[in-house]
Amino acid sequence: MTLKQGDSLTFFEPGGRRTEAVLEAAEEIAWSGSPLQAHRVILSCADGTVRQYRHLSPLTSAHEAYQALDNEILAGLRMHRLCGDRLYPASVSRLAGYEANGKEPFALVEHYRGSPIGSTSGRIVPGEGVRFQSTLLTGARWLNAAGIAHRSISPANVHWDGMTAQITDFSTATIVGAPREEIGRPPWQAPEQRPGQVEGWVSQKEDVWSVGRLIYYVATGRELIRSEQAKEEPELAHLLNGIFGPIEGRPTPRMLLTRLNLHDPVPQQIQPDAALEQGRADFHVHRMRKHPGLRTVNGSMPRPATQSPPPPPPEPDTRKGWWRR
């Protein structure tokens, strides 16, 4: 998509309102390996403000490029649906607008914080290490609460500005309960996403593997080659315990936050809309109809709308009481 100064962009805000803005300036952002192209744009908005956004659009006309944009929009809408305007976490990039159906679809995302962790080979100031871990896990927890699985968390798409880690780039995201597929890139790819090992449904623990690897990488400056390496670091052994084993025994982001003595950032009163669950099932049916090539490796199909997808495994109850076993 070419952007010229003076172009008028019409798009939907995440809340559903249609609005228009005039492009004041655009600068292409190098983004290797992505099916999307990105521009830094400055828009004069209808409310009179001038704002800077990241403009995402398909790089090619290939199916994967449009799917990537879809994923970005859907993840943004789910987060907005969960958080609204007041509670939006800084640890997750934010969708500001989208146009999904036009001739040149695009998404507008608020500008990412800081720089990718990978730009300094994972090196951050040591005193910021705990803050990095806590904000990264906070972001992962919010994604959990929204029912989103990022599936490609890596140093390239986790940003850091010295205060907050921010998870960005939802082009490979999907929703919890969707059929699993081969996705992601080594070494950040979880085992259940690798060729020959894909099966089942996307779960709440889908991103924990890559989050754990990233925490280890940033804390030590080394790649995790053997899972035992995590146990050899006294400061990380407790936090990363169980992450690099089978998915069934993997802790959730909320459990990991507990290990850091942090409260759950997602307020109790925020629950995913029940309508989303039915809608999710419908979505999968429509999606498979639209993209027939999208199947899991074992050829399984998602369940039809009449049958709800398997519920996510319940969080272990850590409260103690005499009636608890």
Partner: protein, 710 residues
């Protein structure tokens, strides 16, 4: 030696300028005159040359005529006045070509950006008075016009030479593992001499535990000290055991409290308020330590990088050195020191105190003492009575003293053994007395033997008890218990120092981390700008001057980062330093484009070299330049199109020159006839190729405009 530039002048203007030049009183010595003119304007400037030649001010004139000539065939028209009195050097192309005359080689175009530099260098060389005279002497034949070639030491092929030199220097700078990084220490790292005792608040919980442990150990030591006394034979080790058990409890309590404190106050990123509260609650007073000093840290890092670069240590090695220092600075946290507490007060010490072993068994000689004692008692006239009585006394003595604190089996064995020995003594003594003594012993003797018997018995028992008691105390490990208390306090002192320094250390580690990333990114910038794959540069030895200036570039790029090393993310520092390094490379390239590649760039320091080092570094280059083969490859100031205009059949005229300062080192290695000049800037070979006959033509006729003026 004076220069006079006639370029850009018309015929009349040139003449006027020449007259003005001659009339200028500030130019005192015009005996050697170097004229710069355009080849196509020489004939028009006839009057100017006539004025100069006829002025009587000049003794020698060289004219450097630049630019191509026209005509088919090309013809260089020269005023006769010029050719009769001056040497003419034609420079059709100041950028020139790199070319070998014999055997003729291909003409290699030189970088056009280097044209100004080339002409400037030629003029600078000709401006050396001795070189000027020698060149003029070669050009004595009237009408002889030559085209110059130049091989100059310290000046290569212009931009290409700079790129190659920079690539070689960058390869050295980025070579992994090259060199050894200088040492890095800071006052935030505790040394053995600095370890202070832990300071405890009086009557604080920890202070109370320490006092209790020390008191209990002292009491146990006191009880153990009383044990060898005679009365202790009858009371046994009960009291001492109880004291040792109390000591073990207190010792364990102290160690446990320290372990809990180390866990509660553990942090690897500096102490938070809850950690300080935990330390305060236990009554530990942290020592005062110096705060983090950003200026000092920046200075340390600056000196480290500078020393490393001066000693040819590669950037990856320096970066790794900073990373190691950062890791040393990172607080481990007090929980990591819990194993030190276990080493200071091992479980074994506590266990040995709490569960003291039984008393050692009686010595092998004790029954013999009993035998002797009872035998002495049984020798007298009433031996059959006194002997058994003594045997009974002995057995009872052993039973109620030495038999205590023994396992039943050992006790029974000891008592039985001693009883048997006592009986044997009696029997033996009685029998011996009957057999050997004809008369009964006098009463005095018998009484004395009886007393001796008692003394032997009591003395043997006492000696045995003392020895056994001392051995028992040693086995309980009471001495180690006392040492353990002090060792625990030593660990606590070390840890309290770590707590106090945690803030400074983490701040220093953060700063070092930022600078490490910045230095790494300087390496990225160098790699992007200057690095070439090693295979192309394997034969290229880094030029020490370019290497030096590249190091200066690194320092200049790092300077702004060092000023703000206390803040900012690593990404920001990395990005900023890459921009700065790229800017400096641009500055360097701009500087070199108009000068020698080895000139000091604006950010560079002047090299402080000893004469020996300078000569050793420069000698090969000086010899190669001043001793160059006149037919060999060098810069020829023409284009390939002008080569046919040169007379290649003639022997090239050569002027070799080098600095008088280096004469002693060079003279024997150079051909004869070298011109030794005062300047230290130039050394090389000037090659003068004459033009073919007919290319240059003398003209005495005036220009049409001058004819019209007449």
């Amino acid at each position: 030696m004076v220069r006079f530039d006639l370029r850009g002048s018309g015929g009349n203007e040139a003449a006027a300028r020449a007259r003005a030049f001659l009339a200028d009183d500030t130019q005192s010595d015009l005996s050697l005159l170097l004229i710069l003119d355009e080849a196509s304007a020489l004939r028009r400037h006839r009057q100017a040359y006539e004025a100069l030649v006829s002025s009587n001010y000049t003794d020698g004139m060289l004219c450097v005529a630049t630019g191509p000539i026209d005509g088919d065939p090309p013809l260089l028209e020269l005023p006769g006045s010029l050719t009769q009195a001056a040497g003419v050097i034609w420079v059709p192309d100041p950028a020139g070509i790199t070319w070998r005359t014999n055997p003729p080689g291909p003409a290699i175009r030189r970088d056009r950006r280097d044209a100004d530099t080339g002409l400037r260098l030629l003029l600078d060389v000709l401006s050396q008075a001795d070189v000027f005279r020698e060149t003029l002497r070669r050009l004595q034949a009237p009408g002889l016009v030559v085209n110059p070639g130049l091989r100059l030491a310290g000046v290569g092929e212009g931009q290409n030479d700079f790129d190659q030199a920079l690539a070689a220097a960058a390869t050295r700078l980025l070579a992994p593992g090259a060199g050894k990084a200088p040492a890095l220490t800071s006052r935030y790292e505790e040394t053995r001499a600095q370890r202070a005792a832990v300071r405890l608040r009086r009557d604080g919980p920890l202070d109370n535990d320490v006092a209790a442990a020390r008191t209990a150990v002292e009491e146990a030591a006191e009880a153990a000290g009383d044990l060898p006394r005679p009365m202790a034979m009858f009371t046994g080790t009960q009291e001492a055991r109880a004291a040792m058990s109390r000591a073990s409890e207190r010792l364990l309590a102290l160690r446990d409290r320290l372990e809990r404190l180390f866990s509660a106050a553990h942090s690897s990123v500096g102490l938070e308020p809850e950690h300080l509260d935990a330390i305060e609650r236990e009554g530990v007073t942290l020592p005062s330590v110096p705060d983090f000093d950003a200026t000092e840290t920046a200075s340390t890092i600056r000196d480290y990088i500078r020393d490393g670069l001066d000693n040819r240590v590669a950037l990856p090695v320096l970066t790794e050195g900073l990373n190691r220092w950062q890791r040393r600075l990172m607080p481990l946290g007090s929980r990591a020191r819990i194993p030190d507490l276990r080493r200071a007060c091992p479980d074994e010490v506590i266990t040995r105190l709490r569960h003291a072993e039984p008393m050692p068994g009686s010595q092998w000689w004790l029954p013999l003492a009993g035998l002797t004692s009872t035998a002495l008692a049984a020798v007298g006239p009433l031996g059959v009575v006194s002997g058994p009585v003594m045997a009974l006394l002995w057995t009872l003595l052993v039973t109620f003293t030495l038999g205590r604190d023994q396992p039943l089996a050992r006790r029974v064995g000891a008592v039985t053994g001693n009883a048997v020995a006592a009986v044997a003594g009696v029997v033996g003594a009685v029998a011996a007395a009957d057999f050997l003594l004809a008369d009964p012993l006098p009463d005095v003797v018998w009484a004395g033997l009886l007393v001796l018997s008692l003394v032997v018995a009591l003395g043997a028992v006492l000696v045995s008890w003392r020895a056994r008691a001392q051995r028992w105390v040693e086995r309980c490990g009471l001495a180690q218990a006392g040492e353990a208390v002090e060792a625990l306090l030593g660990v606590a002192g070390s840890v309290s120092g770590e707590w106090a320094r945690a803030g400074s250390k983490i701040a220093a580690a953060d700063a070092v981390s930022r600078m490490s990333v910045a230095l790494d990114q300087v390496g990225v910038a160098v790699r992007e700008r200057a690095f070439r794959p090693p295979a192309e540069e394997s034969a290229a030895e880094p030029d020490p001057r370019v290497t030096h200036y590249l190091s200066d570039l690194v320092m200049e790029a790092m300077a702004p980062r060092l000023r703000v090393l206390v803040s900012g993310t690593t990404a920001v520092h990395g990005e900023q330093v890459r921009h700065k390094a790229a800017e400096l490379f641009e500055v360097w390239e701009d500087h070199v484009s108009g000068r020698s590649p080895y000139d000091t760039p604006p950010f560079g320091r002047e090299r402080q070299l000893t004469p020996e080092r300078r000569l050793n570094e420069d000698l090969p280059e000086l010899l190669a330049a001043a001793g160059a083969d006149p037919r060999g490859e060098m810069r020829q100031f023409c284009s390939a199109g002008e080569i046919p205009l040169l007379d290649l059949g003639a022997e090239p005229m050569t002027v070799r020159f080098a600095s008088q300062r280096d004469r002693a080192a060079l003279a024997d290695s150079l051909p004869t006839g070298v011109t030794w000049i005062p300047s230290t800037q130039f050394a090389g070979t000037l090659r003068l190729l004459p033009l073919r006959g007919g290319v240059a033509r003398q003209s005495w006729a005036a220009e049409p405009e001058q004819e019209a003026a007449r």
